[in-house]
């Protein structure tokens, strides 16, 4: 099929390759692309699709990179791709170069290929897509839309997507508009048939049905956060649009409309407020929580910067608040459609003065769901803001994860909120009095009691009874109590997840440990499993929360060499570990990736192997 010489042949690869689609944004390719990934999911094969989109609305190049991985590794696979589906002339030159040796470049051959795009080490497979749609449809919009469906049909033939899987997705997608089912299936069939006609045999990269996705779903992290907020009892969502966090509020809206409308009155048992900016959004969240309603906001880096003053108020006045930061590449506007984990410092020590903020780090949509729901309990229990740090990769891409679960016996933990009865039964109420020795005082909600419990919430110094004071001792007592609370915090936070790959500790040392968090998980596990398979055992600990629980320190102490994997330039998690656990910085080596792409196993493995101290290596069992 190659126009010039015979390219190298590719060995047959089953369920282990990458397909990348080069589209134009705003051209409606998104639904065709997701149909492609979903069909593979339904075939029981682990698959991880990722959108790579520009910070503009229409007409710019956009890619959809789908990794298929029998072994279930869902992180980004670095390197070139086996199959490029090129439907964007604009980016073709770059796209051609992305194909691996012996790989395939699928393109619309209605027009001849520019000879400059010809490489002799890859295979070109052309189908006259434009010609086909022009011959089939009259309406230009349909031509555009169905072109995408047609190439999915062709791929069905070329790499073995079960046609029935595609059909089932079409049926599900257009359940509400059944008239659209038939044309879509026809378009798929057309693509299939045309490909079959043109190519006498399918490609050596092939999909084969498995059953690896039983008990699993495919979901975007942001939607999962929105759903988690519904389950966690959030009633007020105040937000301001910003990529890549917008779909958190949209997710909440979608699920709340479905699950939270009063069936009798039609009233909303929730409120969604598009604020005028992020300062206002977090102000509303603080106001609602102060007044007894669970409330949250979602934003990204620039929003977190704008929320600093309010975060300091909430820390110091001890008002619960939940903030979901879907991180993107900073600083400043940075690369707003690329991923990064670089808002740790601004979150953990948000605001001027001495402050410390609780942070959560989910790694999967399921954890987005769970930790969002938990965040409300944590915020009320600890009476402080909880900042959940997810990222664009997790938030805006569909990821396979386990089915979501909910324990119906679970009750919201409202923390130490006093009822009117409690107030009646107590002496003087002291809002900032540490009665239990855990640094967490009692709290009252406005309107609770006619005579007792009212106080003036403020960002200024006050004594245990919330009376304004400028006395240094009272101020200091309060600040020290906040540290006691900080020590209490891990008790209420999710524990780290530890995976031991090393045989039980050898005498020569305890080997290598890797610390990571959030979306570095998949790639880290992949890298370490590979190393393990190659005889080098590496344990890992995934941090789920800040402040750290003792297990994190123990893990560091138990290993001879520790790597910290992060998707930022400045090793921000390392800074937190060093600062809070009093670990020596030179005991933590960083593996950093910060170019905006999700980190890959290859990068992690290289980062570790290039820096291994041979005496800390422990062989895998």
């Amino acid at each position: 099929m190659s126009p010039i010489s015979t390219p190298p042949l590719m060995n047959k690869k089953v369920n282990d390759f990458v397909v990348k689609f080069a589209n134009v944004n705003g051209s409606g390719s998104a639904s065709a692309n997701s149909m492609f990934a979903k069909a593979i999911f339904r075939m029981g094969i682990p698959v991880s699709p990722r959108n790579i989109f520009p910070s503009n609305i229409q007409g710019a190049p956009t890619w959809y990179e789908v990794r298929i991985c029998e072994q279930g590794y869902l992180g980004r696979r670095a390197g070139k791709v086996e199959l490029m589906v090129s439907v964007n002339p604009q980016s073709m030159a770059d796209d051609v170069n992305e194909v691996c040796e012996g790989g395939y470049f699928f393109y619309d051959n209605t027009y001849p290929l520019d000879f400059k795009l010809i490489r002799d080490d890859i295979n070109y497979i052309g189908l006259p897509l434009t010609q086909i749609v022009n011959a089939t449809f009259n309406d230009p919009r349909r031509r555009q839309l169905f072109k995408n469906i047609i190439y999915v049909g062709s791929l069905s033939y070329l790499i073995g997507i079960e046609f029935s899987a595609l059909e089932s997705i079409v049926a599900d997608t257009f359940k509400a508009k059944p008239k659209l089912i038939e044309p879509n299936v026809s378009a798929l069939q057309l693509g299939f048939d045309e490909a079959k006609k043109a190519f006498n045999e399918p490609l050596p990269i092939q999909l084969e049905r498995r059953n690896k996705n039983d008990g699993k779903i495919m979901l975007e992290g942001n939607a999962a956060c929105g759903l988690g907020a519904v389950y966690g009892g959030a009633t007020v969502c105040a937000w301001y649009p910003i990529t890549p966090s917008t779909s958190v509020a949209e997710g909440f809206e979608k699920y709340a409309n479905k699950l939270r409308k009063d069936p009798e009155t039609g009233k909303n048992n929730f409120a969604i407020i598009q604020a005028e900016d992020e300062l206002s959004a977090i102000g509303m969240v603080i106001g609602s929580n102060w007044n007894g309603a669970r409330s949250f906001t979602a934003t990204s880096g620039p929003g977190v910067s704008l929320m600093q003053e309010f975060l300091g108020l909430a820390y110091f006045a001890e008002v619960p608040a939940v903030l979901i930061d879907v991180q993107r590449a900073g600083p400043s506007t940075g690369m707003p459609t690329r991923t990064q984990q670089s808002d740790l410092l601004i979150s953990a020590y948000a605001s001027h003065g001495d402050t410390k903020q609780v942070c959560l780090f989910p790694a999967t949509p399921k954890e987005c769901f769970e930790l969002t729901a938990d965040a409300f309990d944590i915020a009320e229990r600890l009476q402080t803001p909880v900042i959940m740090l997810t990222d664009l990769d997790l938030g805006m891409n569909e990821h396979i994860c386990d089915d979501l679960e909910w324990d119906d016996s679970r009750e919201f933990d409202r923390g130490k909120v006093l009822s009117a009865e409690d107030l009646d039964n107590m002496d003087r109420f002291g809002r900032y009095l540490d009665i239990d020795g855990d640094g967490i005082p009692n709290r009252t909600i406005p309107g609770t009691h006619a005579e007792k419990g009212a106080f003036f919430t403020r960002g200024t110094s006050r004594d245990e009874y919330a009376i304004y004071t400028e006395k240094g001792e009272a101020y200091q007592r309060n600040m020290e109590r906040l540290l006691v609370k900080w020590k209490t915090a891990p008790e209420y936070l999710p524990k780290p997840e530890i995976t031991n790959r090393a045989a039980s500790s050898s005498s020569s040392g305890n080997g290598i440990g890797v610390i990571h968090y959030g979306t570095s998980m998949a790639a880290t596990h992949e890298a370490l499993d590979q190393m393990s398979a190659d005889g080098v055992a590496v344990n890992d600990l995934r941090v789920l929360a800040f402040p750290f629980s003792d297990e994190v320190k123990a893990f560091i102490d138990q290993h001879d060499q520790i790597f910290v994997v992060e998707q930022n330039r400045d090793a921000q998690m390392k800074t937190l570990l060093v600062n809070e656990l009093e670990v020596a910085p030179r005991d933590l080596q960083s593996v950093l990736e910060f170019n905006g792409d999700p980190i890959s196993a290859t990068q992690i493995r290289e980062g570790i192997e290039n820096n291994l101290k041979t005496d800390s290596v422990v062989k895998s069992a």
Binding site: A238, P446, G447
Partner: protein, 350 residues
């Protein structure tokens, strides 16, 4: 620090319908300067809430930062208060209000807090028609930071240090009218007779009520040359529709009401009685209100009174389609859809 509890206890200590004397509506000892206009406003607020028969603990006192924003400390001790951050009272109040529609929200702000750093939130809380009373204790300066001109300082006004303000002032009343506020009034801290009924009307209004109250800063902005001093204000006040608030049960007649009167119904069944300077003034005509306001300004007169009222409007609770039960009172059974719903969702994600 005045050391005077702004109290207004009467020898015979009258009680309101709840059986409470005004004492139940008092606050802490004021730490404001003796003679500060803000303290008079606090006294009027107590009086108004008392007269409206609202239990003190059913009020939420919201503020930003400034001398004015401190003042909620000095009334209604039994109510919760939130002295938030500079210029952001509206957002905090919006959140609080959406959480619990059943309290009365009294926001106290300053001209610095509102017209400078808080301008954006001011505009947007109006746009949402949040059900609250928003009081600007307007002294034309930044009291707490020692008297810099604020954005409501009049053009040509002379600061205590002798500088002439070169900027046109922002008229919060005109701005609120333009932004669609559904209740707009102005008063003077020294005119309790006008201020108390205006406060009552504002608090009874089901929607956003702005009360811009000229409140002289005795320490930094009460000198000759100041256009927000007691003397200047007294001389330039032009009482527009003087207001009397009429609770459903009982009609109060005030001697101060001059001219012909018109009764405008409020959402809660109560009504305000307007005393107008001339018969053409219709406080429900927004465009006319803007015009009259500008006219007074061009004549160097400060129009006070109820300037605009839109009795029927959807407030933010209506817009959000909220249930009668405050959101803050909903519990797991209402809020959490449970595992069965989740299974269905899982199925949809396969």
């Amino acid at each position: 620090m005045s050391f005077i509890k702004p109290s207004f206890r009467h020898p015979s200590a009258p009680t309101n319908a709840l059986g409470l004397t005004t004492q139940a509506y008092e606050g802490g000892i004021s730490t404001l300067c003796a003679g500060c206009g803000h303290d008079s406003i606090s006294a009027s607020i107590m009086q108004a809430v008392w007269a409206l028969n609202i239990p003190p603990h059913r009020v939420a006192k919201m503020s930003g930062i400034g001398c004015s924003s401190k003042s909620p400390n000095y009334f209604l001790n039994k109510a919760h208060g939130f002295n938030s951050v500079h210029g952001r009272m509206p957002s905090v109040t919006t959140g609080a209000n959406v959480a619990n529609r059943d309290l009365l929200y009294i926001g106290v702000s300053g001209d610095g807090d509102t017209a400078s750093i808080g301008m954006g939130q001011f505009a947007h809380v109006i746009r949402r028609n949040l059900n609250m009373t928003y009081i600007v204790e307007n002294n034309g300066c930044y009291g707490l930071t020692k008297g810099q001109d604020s954005a409501t300082a009049d053009e040509g006004h002379k600061s205590k240090k002798g500088k002439i303000n070169p900027f046109e002032s922002i008229d919060l009343v005109a701005l609120a009218l333009e932004l669609g506020a559904t209740f707009v009034a102005r008063s003077f801290s020294g005119d309790k007779d006008q201020l108390v009924p205006l406060l009552q009307a504002a608090m009874s209004h089901k929607g956003f009520a702005l009360l811009d109250v000229v409140s002289p800063c005795v320490t930094f902005n009460n000198h000759p040359g100041s256009t927000k001093s007691y003397d200047y204000t007294r001389e330039h006040v032009q009482a527009g529709s003087v207001v009397d608030f009429v609770p459903m049960e009982q009609e109060i007649t005030l001697d101060q009401i001059k001219g012909s009167t018109q009764e405008v119904a409020l959402h809660n069944g109560d009504s305000v009685r307007l005393s107008k300077l001339n018969d053409n003034y219709d406080p429900t005509d927004r465009v006319n209100a803007i015009k009259v306001l500008h006219k007074h300004k061009s004549e160097d007169k400060l129009l006070t009174g109820l300037i605009y009222l839109e009795p029927e409007s959807d407030n933010f609770h209506d817009i959000l389609n909220l249930p009668e039960t405050p959101l803050s009172q909903l519990r797991e059974n209402t809020l959490c859809p449970g595992s069965a719903a989740l299974s269905a969702i899982n199925t949809g994600l396969k």
